[in-house]
Amino acid sequence: MVATRFIGWLRKYEKWFGLTATVLISAGLYTGLVTSSPDYYQGEVVRIMYVHVPFAQTAMLAYSTLFLCSIWYLWKKEAVVDNACHAAAGLSLFFTAGGLITGSIWGKPTWNAWWVWDPRLTSFAIMFLTLVGYLMLRTFLDDKEKKATFSAILAIIGFVDLPIIHFSVEWWRSLHQPLSVSNRGVSIAPDMLVPFTLMSIGVGILFSYMLMVRTQMLYLEHLLEAKQGRLLNEGQL
């Protein structure tokens, strides 16, 4: 009953997340691509920031969600929580790939290289590989409970990479620029801060919406699979 109540709640509130994300991302794209000024040093190419940084931040938010979700699963052992973890992992992989691709495209005109073995880029690539490993592990195991438990443990171990990603630009000399928004202040011009903030919050809320949709998708797929399995056993299909 917990699962049906949880799915009912997701279904009831998801549209508000979707609507808010649409409004924020539309405003962010409009200000980012149409009204904001080019950067003094980078010129027009700075506009890649409005999609690269929100994707990278959301990838980390998604992994943090996966981490918390995995702890929750190991504690409560609810199947629907495992669906949410699985959904968060898929979305985190998607946003990590997006962050790496847009970063690579931004790197070429600014660093004259598609890829460098910089601490920030390398630790981000490790997160990508961890997520690929997580999803592969889920594919290889048949037993549902083992699958959920082992993948949750892997996700918790992989979380150690997140502080490394975040602080890599502080701990090592890096080609990647340091944090633009930190406790030292904000080092982005107000003109650029508006689309940057709109896109960052918008993509974050879009992730929440996608998580709600994907969790429902995985839950319903399992439900349908269970039902059809039952029908097969009963010789009805």
Binding site: M1, T4, R5, I7, G8, W9, R11, K12, T22, S26, L29, Y30, L33, V34, P38, Y41, Q42, G43, E44, V45, R47, I48, V51, H52, F55, F94, G98, I101, T102, I105, W106, K108, P109, M210, V213, R214, Q216, M217, L220, E221, L223, L224, A226, K227, Q228
Partner: protein, 185 residues
């Protein structure tokens, strides 16, 4: 939304599934219209404020209005500004070559031989010189467009697939009478 579709299905010949699918596609059409309009506005801004022409195009169209000319400063052609003289250099690109004069500051040492830059100014056909009023960085708009396409288009497809799958799963499960949500009714 679900209740309205059920009610509509009861009162008309339209099926509940048909009603849900119609709404789903309508929502995506509205979304595509919003993001398509923003893309058009971005493209308009690019053509009005960012697009550059090459020296070869400049020589062939001989524009009267202010244009943005992009090219590489030829080796051996660069002459630094003095008190009375402006910067002088030849800018070449796509097989064309144009003599440029620029009066003003050199922003961050951008002006040097073999550097590709954008000069903003007017073509003086009488003097056979391009008089630049401003120097700008190469826009590299292809990279910007690629970054947006490679991130937002897969995002849209991914979301479209998931939403469609969920809508279909609810219909399939409802038909199988497996799931009855407790809330949101």
């Amino acid at each position: 939304m679900r209740d309205n579709c059920e009610e509509k299905a009861r009162n008309t010949l339209e099926s509940r599934q048909g009603c849900l699918v119609k709404r789903f596609y309508l929502r995506w059409m509205i979304l595509m219209t919003i993001f398509g309009s923003i893309s058009i506005l971005g493209a308009v801004r690019y053509f009005q404020e960012v697009r550059t022409i090459s020296p070869k195009t400049l020589l062939s169209i001989q524009p009267k209005e202010t244009v943005r000319l992009m090219g590489m400063i030829d080796a051996g052609s660069f002459m630094k500004a003095t008190e009375n003289e402006p910067f002088r250099f030849d800018l070449s690109g796509e097989g064309g070559k144009v003599a440029v004069t620029y009066t003003g500051e050199d922003p961050d040492g951008l002006l040097r031989e073999l550097k590709t830059i954008v000069v903003i100014g007017n073509w003086e056909s009488g003097d056979g010189e391009f008089q630049a009023k401003e120097i700008a960085l190469v826009p590299n708009y292809g990279f910007i467009t690629s970054a947006y396409i490679f991130s937002l288009v897969p995002l849209a497809f991914f979301l479209f697939y998931m939403e469609r799958r969920v809508a279909l799963l609810y219909v399939m499960i409802k038909d199988e009478k497996v799931y009855q949500p407790e809330t949101g009714q």
